[in-house]
């Protein structure tokens, strides 16, 4: 028990940490296990089966909602990452200029407002526009998702930019490269890991959203999370477990990828 004499030791902390990690993963583990249950119970084990994955796969509503989620997520992530990259280029590696702190505050603002309030605000705003324009497509959801994804895409890109100094760009400019060439051949390749990380974060954040989507969506525009929320309110079958498991696998995959990309930053 050498640890007990270390100056870092605090009694009970390791136990609490252990409980914390078990607590974090136990519910998810149980959820995943019952996704493979053969019977329609989510509490009594009736043998291993892939039945519920099959049910989910054959459920047109689930597939529909999944495709919609992916469409919105991909579009919003690409849009948010593009504009966030531009904004990051505009707000880093510069002496302070008027409006710089305003931009930081503005870009991070979606993080400060509770989702329910943004949801309500967009419901009101978009319902007016829907009446005026007659357009009821996915555009509203994509716009809303893009807006709240921007701060998440912005963070890793800005962090990456701040760790790059201007020497290489200056050298290129000295060698008569045009600003576009400098950007295309030097800044962009160096910035790429940051952009990729931002893209993945934005995608995951968009896929996860329930509240804002729930308020903004028109009829028949369920995304996978809002469809699941509706099902959970109605009662539970292992089908939801199966869908959750597939969803978890996707998110964890993306996050793991993100983790390795951002770790290789040196």
């Amino acid at each position: 028990m050498a640890e007990r004499f270390s100056i870092r030791y605090q009694p009970g902390f390791t136990t609490i940490a252990a409980i914390c990690f078990v607590m974090l993963y136990m519910p998810i583990a149980v959820l995943v296990v019952y996704a493979f249950n053969a019977t329609d119970s989510t509490s009594a084990w009736g043998g291993f089966s892939l039945h519920w994955f099959e049910t989910g796969w054959n459920n047109a509503q689930v597939i529909d909602a999944s495709i919609r989620s992916l469409k919105i997520g991909a579009t919003a992530a690409v849009l948010a990452t593009s504009v966030a990259t531009m904004a990051a280029l505009a707000t880093t590696r510069t002496p302070p200029y008027p409006g710089l702190t305003f931009k930081y505050a503005f870009i991070n603002q979606p993080l400060m407002v509770p989702e329910i309030v943004t949801g309500v605000a967009l419901l009101i705003f978009f319902s007016r526009i829907k009446i005026w324009s007659g357009y009821t497509g996915l555009g509203y959801l994509i716009a809303a998702h893009t807006a709240f994804c921007i701060p998440f895409a912005y963070l890793p890109i800005r962090a990456r930019l701040e760790s790059m100094d201007l020497t290489l760009e200056r050298a290129a400019a000295d060698l008569y490269a045009t600003p576009w060439h400098v950007f295309r051949r030097i800044t962009l390749p160096l910035l790429w890991p940051g952009i990729l990380a931002g893209l993945m974060l934005a995608f995951v954040i968009s896929l996860d959203d329930v509240v804002i989507t729930e308020f903004v969506k028109s009829g028949g525009q369920d995304t996978l999370p809002t469809y699941m929320l509706g099902q959970i309110r109605r009662g539970v079958t292992p089908e939801i477990n199966a869908i959750s498991t597939a969803f978890l696998l996707l998110s964890v995959g993306i996050v793991t990828l993100f983790f390795f990309i951002s770790r290789k930053r040196d």
């Binding site: 019952y34 509490s43 929320l229």
Partner: protein, 306 residues
């Protein structure tokens, strides 16, 4: 004589202008689909409700009055709106309790991670981050399955003979709190960890040299030094908790509402958009107050450490 200083100034002006152009798309999108609509909410909170939802463009303070007061349908007298106030009170109470509970569990966990070796630290951190990036609804659903009457907790307790009837946890305030602690825990651990990582353990050693006990070192040295992390974590947990929508609607059932559910009701069956708008503004105000307290504390007299 078209001197260098003037050319430099001109170049600088141009640089600032192109930087504004470059950030314009992001700013415009956020303005149109996040910040701007908040102003509309404020306007709507002062209008009259339309018969089938939406609003009638007629000024009325009625929505704001009914946030706090109730008009008697017979004699028009005002009394406190007990139902609304109870929901506000429940939301504030649950958000605060959640913040405290995540602090009690999160601080030792962050400390545990921060005192691991360089190599394993990343793995522990990764384990905290994964749930943070997985879907909040799925995590809430996972909690639901655990605490149900037929869930693993009740089944285990009954098998062990500790209880003979399942304890009703689901659809109570306790369930909502458990769910919120579960989903927001990483938001407390991460900032505390960030502070602890920078902690200079020589100060801890100095404390022991001066005959401080473990507890005194914790209370007098470690906690004051990581206070910024604890405060940041509390803010990060409190803000989403007070506006929480998914957790109370999944774990609280229809009866145990929080503010967000009350707001949703006004835009659904309630058909009272102005009231929903004024309730939303109220949530914003609570969040603003919390943020102001945070800024005051973060830049308060305690910045002298280091």
């Amino acid at each position: 004589m078209a001197n260098a200083a003037e050319i430099a100034r001109k170049a600088e002006r141009e640089d600032v202008r192109s930087r504004w152009l470059l950030s314009a798309p992001a700013l415009i999108i956020i303005f149109l689909a996040a910040i701007g609509p908040l102003a509309i909410v404020l306007v709507y909170s002062f209008l009259s409700p339309g018969p089938y939802g939406d609003v009638v463009w007629k000024f009325s303070p009625e929505a704001w009055i009914s946030v706090f007061l109730e008009r008697d349908i017979f004699d028009e007298t005002l009394s406190l709106a007990d139902a609304n106030l109870a929901i506000f009170w429940r939301s504030a109470k649950l958000a605060l309790l959640t913040t405290i509970a995540t602090m009690v569990v999160g601080f030792p966990t962050a400390y545990f991670i921060a005192t691991r070796s360089e190599r394993t630290r990343d793995i522990w951190l990764f384990l905290i981050t994964i749930p943070f990036w997985t879907n909040l609804l799925i995590r809430t659903f996972a909690v639901l399955q655990i605490i149900r009457n037929e869930g693993i907790i009740n089944t285990a307790l009954m098998k062990l003979g500790i209880i003979d009837r399942p304890i009703q946890i689901l659809f109570t305030d306790t369930a909502i709190m458990l769910g919120m602690v579960y989903v927001y825990l990483p938001l407390m651990v991460l900032p505390i960890y960030a502070s602890l990582e920078k902690l200079d353990f020589r100060l801890v050693e100095a404390g022991y040299d001066l005959y401080a006990s473990r507890f005194q070192v914790l209370r007098r040295i470690i906690i004051p030094l990581v206070r910024p992390g604890i405060i940041a974590g509390s803010i990060l947990v409190f803000i989403p908790a007070i506006g929480s929508y998914v957790t109370p609607s999944v774990l609280g059932g229809g009866k145990n509402m929080m503010i967000a559910n009350l707001i949703e009701l006004q835009f659904g069956q309630g058909r009272n958009w102005p009231l929903g708008a004024s309730l939303s503004i109220s949530v914003m105000v609570i969040v603003m107050i919390a943020l102001l307290l945070y800024v005051r504390n973060a830049t308060g007299p305690d910045t002298r450490n280091g």
